[in-house]
């Protein structure tokens, strides 16, 4: 047959099957009519041949044969039989479930929780770790990065930067002159796009607010092939002259939030760090820029605007070779491999570095690396990859556990249905049909679980990211609930149903014909048929052990973090940030502003004391500055930088950091008085070798700076986060600095933040209506936020642990109850010949302990191995933590005993005569 005919035949089959399914009633009627017509014609022919009507009709019916059978054959000719059977199986499965709703509810619920947890994690992992940027062909994007050996010639960096001892430096930022040279000499990638994300102050429709901004090169929109939904894009023409191009394209989110999606937004102006920029377009919804795939910056402006709107220091960064800050992305070029492109660009980079920087002796060249740019700078990877994958793995265990649980319930039920199966086999049911029947029941159960799981995923998918982000920041990212999530849920549901359904179904359908019918109630010896059930329970206990132990170590971690002594009093401390833009507040003016605000804040009723500080503690921020005690000279081969903070006069009083020697800063320390500093204990020991340092002098930043006299030594405090030990640190009064920029105000008060914040905001507005007050939170919030990830992990793992324990309890209870029911006769005999109820109870408890014990031992062995893998996420405990193990064992033994107690008591309370008569 030619291919056309084959296709035609196939199409015909599908059409016929669809018609038959869709118009089933008509099909049945047609078959009926056709056979009736046949019978009539045959009868009338027989009458014509001389038979009497009665005889003719009888013969006709004999000749045609049983209509029922023919119709069945006709249906199977159309391929309908399979579906009819499936429908029958399903109907039977539903009836079975209705008859035993408790089984169905426990099974479906545990599956729903496990599937829901898995799908939620899938959705979040996909969103955070695998969503590509919303540009056409994101897979073509390459991000330029560089590696250094730690002694590279690059010193000033603003941007992401990883350095680990022995592993060198690794960063994605370049200086603007280097970017220009790379761009000019690039013929291995498509045109290089430069971009930079930063936070700025904006006044939009009269409202001062903090906005996120992506500064972009002129080729950005063209290269990315993104077209604004309203207005125009930023073009090369906007970026020709440095400082020019006061235009902005706004995000869809900002358009909706601040302009109500009004189309007349184009041409409106906004104030951005005190400069006026004109809105020329609105990005399409879904476009999130090049940094992140999850959340879009509010504004996109030309990079050429940097010296005007985002000046850092005096010089324009567009000409400064010293500071490396621009991110570079480009599309790949057809026919050129990444390796070729990388070596060609590396060559250009070497030249660019040599021509723009003075490379000192001992300094090395950064080496260019081309990496996947399809997910932007991959910011979430660094923080979330490990915790999310750990959580996902744990939900995998939960799912396995739920499967084991349902398999166990099914096995117990299969044992109850042995007679039913035997009868069916004896009556001629094919084993395949039985297998299908049982699998249908499993699939139905899994389907219920899957639907429940989908519902959980729908509601849980945004809950998880909320647990992970800082509560006082606006988080826009929504986890997509799309076809992939749906497909994933469907697939794991199907796998699940096969996992838990196949073994019990197979065991049942393998029964010998009539075997169970011959079984009598007079079984006194135990057979080993309960084996698989008990093995499953041990497996469940093992999985629970892993999950409970996991919950234990993460709980211990947040307890340890929570009980860390931070070195200052974090309670009743309100934090808020104010960043005066350099354009309006150049050096000196900003210091005055902060002094003025400090004074005004202090005067507010309810405020006990106020101090501004450059770095808020436990916020993952830190500042370093070269620290040179008297007698030490600057040495490029030694790390001489120490942690620093520029603080207000009342800093130590406000944070309640004890001064151990000397004095705190006071009103006598002014811009014109001799320069003073305070250092902490660690710094005193580290750089002076003793804490008796009051009166000694040091220099900060560089050798030609002024001498600073140490006036006090304070206690150590944690700095960057809760995990790292207090660093050596020194403090300088901000009033003695030339320029400080953004400051974080720390307000000691017993007034609730919600009451105080508006008052403080009003004061700032009186001083400068364009100055936004941002990131208002308490120091406690800040510390809690620092523990956010750990807390989220702990909360979720504890949830998984509890779920695991309840599933195991159900499993143990089910198996023991079944075992007692099976051994009723045996127990009756034991009791009749003189066993005491206590002994019977002990026997049952012993049986369950054995099962639990095996599970516990295996579980702990595996869990210890796994804990070792996540040790970077732990704090304050070793991977081998005896208390956690002991508690885990204790809890699980209690759960096992509890679950066995009812069956054991039932066994002990049996009356010997009843037990013996038990059928």
């Amino acid at each position: 047959m030619n291919p056309g005919s084959v296709a035609f035949g196939l199409a015909s089959r599908i059409r016929s099957w669809m018609r038959a399914t869709a118009q089933r009633r008509r099909l049945e009627r047609d078959m009926e009519l056709e056979l009736a017509d046949h019978l009539e014609r045959l009868t009338s022919d027989l009458i014509a041949a001389g038979h009497n009507p009665h005889e003719a009709s009888r013969r006709a019916r004999i000749a045609l044969g049983p209509a029922l059978k023919h119709k069945e054959d006709m249906r199977s000719s159309l391929g309908l039989q399979w579906m009819d059977q499936a429908r029958d199986d399903l109907r039977f499965a539903v009836r079975q479930m209705r008859r035993n709703p408790r089984f169905a509810i426990i099974g479906a619920l545990s599956l729903a929780l496990a599937i829901g947890a898995n799908s939620t994690l899938f959705a979040v992992v996909k969103q955070l770790l695998y969503t590509p940027l919303a540009v056409p062909h994101a897979d073509q994007l390459r991000l330029l990065r560089w590696w250094g050996d730690g002694n590279e010639a690059v010193h000033g960096m603003w941007g992401d930067f990883d350095s680990a001892p022995g592993q060198g430096t690794n960063s994605s930022v370049f200086s603007y002159p280097v970017y220009q040279q790379l761009r000019a000499h690039n013929d291995v990638l498509q045109d290089l796009i430069g971009f930079k994300d930063d936070g700025m102050n904006a006044t939009i429709r009269g409202e001062a607010q903090r906005v996120s901004v992506e500064m972009v090169s002129g080729n950005y929109y063209g290269q990315l092939r993104v077209r604004p939904q309203v207005g125009r894009a930023i073009t090369e023409a906007d970026t020709v002259v440095p400082g020019s191009g006061a235009v902005a394209v706004i995000s869809d989110g900002l358009w909706a939030r601040s302009f109500g999606r009004s189309p007349v937004v184009v041409g409106q102006t906004i104030t951005l760090n005190q400069s006026v920029v004109t809105i020329v377009g609105v990005n399409p919804p879904g476009f999130t820029g090049l940094k992140l795939a999850q959340q879009s910056p509010d504004l996109f402006v030309p990079l050429s605007l940097q010296p005007v709107i985002d000046p850092k220091g005096k010089a324009s960064l567009l000409t400064d070779p010293g500071l490396w800050w621009v991110n570079i992305m480009a599309r790949s070029r057809d026919g050129i491999t990444d390796l070729q492109a990388q070596s060609a660009l590396n060559f250009v980079l070497q030249g660019a570095v040599r021509s723009t920087l003075t490379v000192r002796r001992g300094e090395t060249m950064p080496r260019l690396v081309l990496t996947d740019g399809s997910r932007g700078l991959r910011v979430p990877d660094r923080v979330f990859r490990m915790p999310l994958l750990v959580l996902w793995a744990l939900t995998g265990f939960v799912l396995l556990l739920a499967c084991a649980n349902v398999a166990n319930l099914l096995l117990a039920r299969a044992a109850q249905r042995r007679r039913e199966m035997s009868v069916r086999l004896a009556l001629g049911a094919a084993r395949g049909r039985l297998l299908r029947q049982l699998l249908t029941e499993s699939v139905l159960l899994a389907f219920l679980g899957g639907v429940g799981g989908l519902v959980l995923t729908y509601f849980g998918r945004n809950l998880l990211p909320r647990l992970l982000t800082e509560p006082w920041q606006r988080a826009e990212f929504n986890t997509a609930f799309d076809a992939k999530v749906f497909a994933f849920t469907t697939i794991i549901t199907l796998i699940t149903s096969v996992l838990f359904g196949l073994a019990p179904a197979w065991l049942s359908s393998r029964l010998p014909i009539g075997g169970a019918l011959k079984e009598t109630a007079l079984q006194t010896t135990r057979r080993r048929k309960g084996l698989s059930g008990k093995a499953l329970v041990s497996f469940q206990v093992a999985l629970s052990t892993i999950l409970v132990l996991g919950a234990g170590v993460f709980l211990r971690t947040i307890w340890s973090l929570g009980s860390v002594d931070v070195g200052f009093n974090p309670d009743n401390l309100l934090l808020l940030e104010i960043e005066p833009p350099v354009s309006r507040y150049p050096a000196g003016k900003d210091v005055n502003l902060h002094m003025q605000l400090e004074q005004r804040f202090t005067a507010v009723p309810g405020v006990e004391s106020v101090a501004a500080g450059y770095v808020p503690y436990i916020s993952d921020n830190m500042s370093n500055e070269t620290f040179l005690p008297e007698g030490e000279i600057s040495d490029p081969h030694r790390r001489q930088a120490e942690a620093v903070n520029w603080v207000g006069t009342d800093f130590f009083k406000t944070l309640e950091i004890p001064i151990l020697a000397g004095r705190a800063f006071g009103i006598q320390d002014t811009a014109t008085s001799p320069k003073v500093g305070i250092i902490n204990e660690s710094l005193a020991r580290k750089r002076f070798g003793s804490t008796d340092v009051v009166g000694k002098r040091f220099k900060a930043d560089q050798e030609k700076s002024d001498w600073i006299q140490i006036v006090g030594v304070c206690r150590d405090t944690r700095y960057v986060n809760l995990r790292t030990q207090p660093p050596a640190q020194f403090f300088l009064p901000f009033v003695q600095q030339k320029q400080v920029g953004r400051m974080v105000y720390q307000v000691r008060t017993h007034v609730p933040a919600s009451t105080l914040a508006p008052l403080l905001r009003k004061i700032v507005q009186q001083v400068d209506p364009d100055l936004p007050v941002t990131d208002i939170r308490t120091q406690r919030d800040q510390i809690n936020a620092a523990m956010q990830l750990e807390r989220a992990v702990a909360v979720l793992t504890v949830g998984f642990g509890l779920l695991a324990m309840s599933l195991s309890a159900v499993g143990i209870y089910g198996v023991m109850a079944y075992s007692v029911a099976q051994r009723t006769n045996e127990i009756g005999i034991r009791l009749a010949v003189g066993a005491r109820p206590v002994q019977v109870r002990g026997m049952i408890l012993q049986e369950s302990s054995r099962v639990t014990g095996i599970g516990l031992v295996c579980g702990i062995a595996v869990a210890l191995g796994l804990t070792h893998l996540v040790r970077s996420m732990l704090f304050g405990i070793e991977t081998y933590d005896p208390p956690t193990i002991l508690v885990t064992v204790g809890v699980l033994v209690l759960v096992a005993l509890g679950a066995t107690w009812i069956p054991a008591r039932r066994a002990a309370a049996l009356q010997p005569m009843d037990a013996l008569r038990n059928e």
Partner: protein, 115 residues
């Protein structure tokens, strides 16, 4: 799931007979039966029970198509007609049958001397 049928060998033959009967003009089920009987010189009477499943199978496969229509004395009947695919299949099956029967005939005619 396929239920094994004892007359699988004959089934192909039945399909061929039906296709041939219908190739001479549209027929209803009973008509197919009569036509085959008539064409075989009143020699062959096919199993009435297996006729309809075979018709449905052929229609499902697209070899024939059916339509309700009026028959002689104003009675409604379902008429089967050969499709293009059915015609192709008829000629293929005919050819195969002829080859097969030729081979079998030859086998049956062979005398001991000829080997």
């Amino acid at each position: 799931m396929k239920t094994e049928k004892p007359n699988d060998v004959l089934q192909g033959t039945l399909d061929l007979l039906i296709l041939r009967a219908v190739s001479l003009g549209p027929l209803h089920g009973y008509g197919v039966l009569l036509r085959i009987h008539q064409m075989s010189g009143e020699e062959l009477l096919i199993q009435q029970g297996s006729l309809y499943p075979a018709l449905y199978r052929l229609e499902h496969q697209g070899a024939i198509t059916s339509e309700w229509g009026e028959s002689e004395n104003n009675r409604k009947a379902k008429y089967y007609r050969l499709t293009r695919l059915g015609r192709e299949r008829l000629s293929e099956e005919t050819e195969r049958w002829e080859r097969m029967s030729g081979i079998i005939n030859q086998i049956l005619r062979v005398t001991p001397k000829e080997i």
